[in-house]
């Protein structure tokens, strides 16, 4: 799930620029080597969030209404029919999943108490809880699971994500009321990981059968809250589900949610989300603006959290490897080494974002730091690589040439808060220093999507893919993921490497965790050598809340707040 938030107009930013133009940046660029405001530790050289971020520490106070603001409305609550990033936390408010992925990647029980996987990795038998109900009174059972998996892949659902994640699912069988057997076409080790993602939650079987279209605006789940009201582009009201007693055992929360109500409002302007929080008009701001991070930290009433999305980190460039000059790995390596990712982290995250030089987010299960310095910022080596690739002549304007051909390309991008224009321009400036002329073309999103899947571009700017498994590498860089007439794949740069394919394919089929870890280590090393894209920063979500808010736990899969355990220190005045 990359950045889905669009921002066609940013009047507030424009106005701020007009009103406050001339202010200089608060401090010179520096590298954030660790996450600010998070009690992270290094384990075997890998940064880790503390276990206490994911497990309830003590019982909270009951009651109260938590007022939360978020940037955008996803327009629908049908988790199976959406790919919107909001579903990561919204999905957890309304729905439960079969399994729960703990932060370290361990798969733990949720609506399924236990499961068996056949030796060939093709058959999954789920033993389900027998005490779960949906808020419309429907019972959760084996038939519910079957119906939900069918709903995900039913073309009428128009599923942009869930269907792709369960593509290897062949058929399901209800063995008895509370035992369900899923058969896969081919071994697919990430099956349980994706089943624990919020887009693959369980919807009421009654609603799926009787009124599937009503899921969009009146969703019925088995989750810790129920939707009371929804006003498009304005907000939604949720209230505690009485009798809820099936949160994932891994988070150690007992019974119902602590809060009586959740009041969600959609506020597109970051500055207004921040001001409302500061004034006490809201208790929590999701998607907190990085430009206000310093002020939030300075305010004794507020807490700022910085959460890294698992999966594939943000990229500055994805190369079309079928086009000159990116068909030459030396040119791709040179580009990756010429871009100052500390600088990019600074201008996009105001000191909050971590620079990133390899291909998996640090908290993704299977991350290995083997290639973390392979693409370190090193313009001298970048110049040598371009020399070696034959781009040794220089045009009058300093751009490198080879056989009379200029070293140039066009970076395709769209108006995108995750890859703003100033980042594109910084990339352009860094590349110019090694004699590469990169033009920038900004087009509407719909046009960029078309060119992207058609492979009609030199290089494409921005993007990240959030998922909770290292299989995200297969989704982005395996040759089976190259877009074609039969598949909208995410390997849009048409990257093809037999060695990498072998590692990623075997990791998908293997049922041996030790072997999978080793394969993913090899894959990350191989990516550092073959450079299908240039990683830039960890994909991060900032979250700010008032000190009165307690029990903020984070979801093991998505690293977003889990409202089941959130409580309020006192009723608001």
């Amino acid at each position: 799930m990359p950045a889905a938030q669009r921002h066609m107009l940013t009047p507030m930013l424009l106005a701020s620029a007009l009103l406050f133009g001339g202010c200089s940046p608060p401090a010179p660029p520096h590298t954030a080597s660790s996450l600010k405001g998070e009690a992270v530790t290094a384990v075997n050289g890998i940064m880790r969030y503390p276990a206490s971020d994911f497990v309830e520490q003590r019982e909270g106070l009951r009651g109260g209404t938590l007022r939360v603001s978020a940037a955008t409305d996803s327009g629908s609550f049908d988790i199976h029919g959406l790919s919107h990033g909001n579903m990561q936390w919204l999905g957890r408010i309304l729905f439960d999943c079969l399994v729960y992925q703990a932060e370290d990647g361990t798969l733990t029980p949720w609506l399924a108490k236990a499961w068996d996987i056949s030796a060939d990795g093709l058959t999954y038998t789920f033993h389900l809880r027998d005490d779960v109900t949906f808020s419309d009174g429907a019972r959760f059972d084996a038939e519910t699971v079957r119906l939900n998996l069918e709903h995900m892949r039913d073309p009428a659902t128009k599923s942009p994500l869930a269907a792709a994640y369960i593509a290897p699912y062949l058929k399901g069988r209800v063995i008895d009321d509370f035992t369900f057997e899923a058969t896969l076409r081919e071994p697919y080790a990430p099956f349980l990981d994706v089943l624990s993602q919020a887009w693959l939650g369980m919807i009421s079987p009654k609603q799926i059968l009787e009124a599937p279209r009503s899921i969009a605006t009146r969703p019925i789940g088995s989750g810790p809250f129920v939707l009371d009201s929804y006003v498009r582009d304005q907000g939604a009201m949720f209230s505690r589900r009485a009798g809820y007693d099936w949160s994932p055992p891994a988070i150690k929360h007992q019974g119902e949610a602590y809060l009586d109500r959740l009041e969600l409002s959609y506020v597109p302007e970051a500055m207004i989300r921040y001001t409302a929080l500061e004034a006490g008009d809201s208790d929590m701001a999701l998607d907190a603006p990085p430009q206000n991070a310093a002020a939030i930290r300075a305010n004794p009433q507020l807490t700022l959290r910085s959460r890294i999305r698992k999966g594939n980190p943000a990229r500055s460039i994805t190369f079309n490897v079928e086009r000159v000059p990116f068909d030459d790995v030396r040119v791709r390596q040179a580009m990756a080494k010429a871009i100052d990712r500390d600088g990019l982290a600074w201008i996009s995250g105001f000191g909050e974002f971590l620079a990133k030089g390899d291909y998996l987010a640090v908290n993704t299960p299977g991350y290995d730091p083997v290639a973390q310095d392979a693409l370190a910022f090193d313009p001298a080596t970048a110049n040598r690589l371009l020399d070696a690739a034959g781009w040794t002549e220089r045009a009058a304007d300093g751009v490198r040439m080879r056989n009379g051909q200029r070293l140039q390309a066009t970076l395709l991008t769209y108006d995108n808060p995750a890859f703003p224009a100033n980042v594109a321009v910084a990339v352009q400036a860094d590349l110019r220093k090694i004699g590469f002329a990169m033009a920038i073309e900004v087009l509407p999103l719909t046009r960029v999507m078309q060119l992207r899947y058609a492979g009609e571009f030199d290089a494409i700017g921005g993007g990240y893919w959030h998922t909770n498994t290292a299989d995200g590498l297969y989704i982005l860089y395996h040759s089976n993921a190259i877009p074609s007439a039969r598949l909208i794949g995410q390997n849009v740069g048409h990257f093809r490497d037999a060695q990498l394919d072998q590692y990623l394919g075997e990791a998908r089929r293997s049922t041996d965790p030790q072997r999978r870890r080793e394969l993913y280590r090899l894959a990350q090393q191989r990516l550092g050598e073959t450079v299908p894209a240039v990683p830039s920063v960890e994909s991060q979500m900032l979250l700010a809340y008032r000190k009165a808010v307690g029990g903020v736990l984070f979801d093991g899969s998505h690293n977003v707040p889990l409202f089941t355990s959130v409580w309020l220190a006192k009723e608001q005045p």
């Binding site: 009047p11 990033g85 599923s159 302007e269 207004i272 999507m449 078309q450 899947y453 007439a485 909208i488």
Partner: protein
């Protein structure tokens, strides 16, 4: 009889305007580039299957030749069916209905504010002390030139962020309506006041005004009872401009103030190539435009019967 004929003729013209608006928007959306099916289920964060794309193309008729899509759209439109929004997966009528009230409230409050402020400013300053007039007129010039998102931001900074008097966002209650209405109404008020003042000053030079004064009528009486009525004609003909400013400004201000409304709906629909919704909002705007112009003509005749003979 003549009035009925005028209204009928104008309504016929209105239908032609609606047809033209729908057709041009249809063509424009087709030529804006991008694959509609991909825009519906694609997005930067999606992995739709080829079967799904084929299903979407078939369901929405996107696999048909353009002329057939156009004719079937017109056919459904003639039956009053605006279709279903691709993105929201609800009917266009419902989608617009959900948002219309908030935009109407914003636009009508802004329009009322604009007219009231313009009347007050022009009546009080026309042909009065040169310095006062220059000051007010200069202020109006600035206001009418500044984009409304800047006015909105200044209002936000002052009344929401500094004094904490009014909420910065939302659509609940009259308090949340005040700042966006002011931001939307002020530039319009400024322009209307300029036009009205100039026209008032011309009227105040006319012989019949001198006559009225000679009859011993007070200055206030002259301005309100004689001059204003004549000066209103050019103002009323600006209604089309006012309407366009209200609609265009609503897009920006609804986003800035986090309000519900047609403007935001339109913006999202355009960005997502949600053709039925864009067409629906366009038709609504065109229909209101036709009605506003009809009302303006009738109003102009009522204010100044001479125009009926033109």
């Amino acid at each position: 009889m003549k009035l009925v004929a005028t209204v009928l003729r104008r309504l016929r013209d209105g239908v032609i305007v609606l047809w033209a608006a729908a057709s041009l928007t249809f063509l424009g959306m087709q030529h804006s580039g991008g694959d509609t099916a991909l825009a519906i289920v694609g997005g930067p964060d999606a992995m739709p299957s080829a079967e799904l794309l084929a299903q979407v193309r078939a369901e929405y008729g996107l696999d048909q030749p353009l002329w057939r899509q156009y004719l079937s759209y017109l056919g459904r439109l003639a039956q009053g069916d605006l279709g279903e929004s691709y993105r929201l997966r609800i009917s266009v009528v419902q989608a617009i209905g959900e948002q219309l009230g908030a935009t109407l409230a914003l636009a009508s409050t802004a329009a009322l504010l604009a007219v009231a402020l313009a009347l007050a400013s022009a009546l009080l300053t026309a042909n009065r002390g040169r310095r006062l007039r220059a000051l007010v007129s200069g202020g109006e010039l600035v206001l009418s030139a500044v984009p409304n998102f800047v006015i909105g931001t200044v209002l936000l900074l002052a009344f929401s962020f500094y004094f904490h008097l009014l909420p910065p966002s939302g659509s609940a209650g009259w308090q949340s309506l005040l700042l966006p209405s002011l931001a939307l109404g002020l530039p319009i008020a400024a322009l209307l006041a300029q036009v009205l003042r100039q026209s008032l000053e011309q009227v105040l030079e006319q012989p019949f005004i001198t006559q009225a004064r000679a009859r011993g009528m007070s200055d206030t009486g002259v301005r309100l009872r004689h001059a204003l009525r004549h000066a209103l004609v050019p103002l009323v003909t600006l209604a089309g401009y006012v309407f366009a400013s209200l609609l265009g400004g609503a897009v920006v201000l609804e986003l800035l103030f986090g309000r519900q409304g047609i403007g935001r709906l339109m913006l999202d629909a355009t960005a997502n190539k949600d053709v039925p919704l864009v067409l629906g909002v366009t038709l609504l705007a065109a229909a209101i435009y036709v009605l506003v112009n009809l009302l303006v003509d009738l109003l102009t005749q009522a204010i100044d019967p001479r125009t009926a003979h033109h």
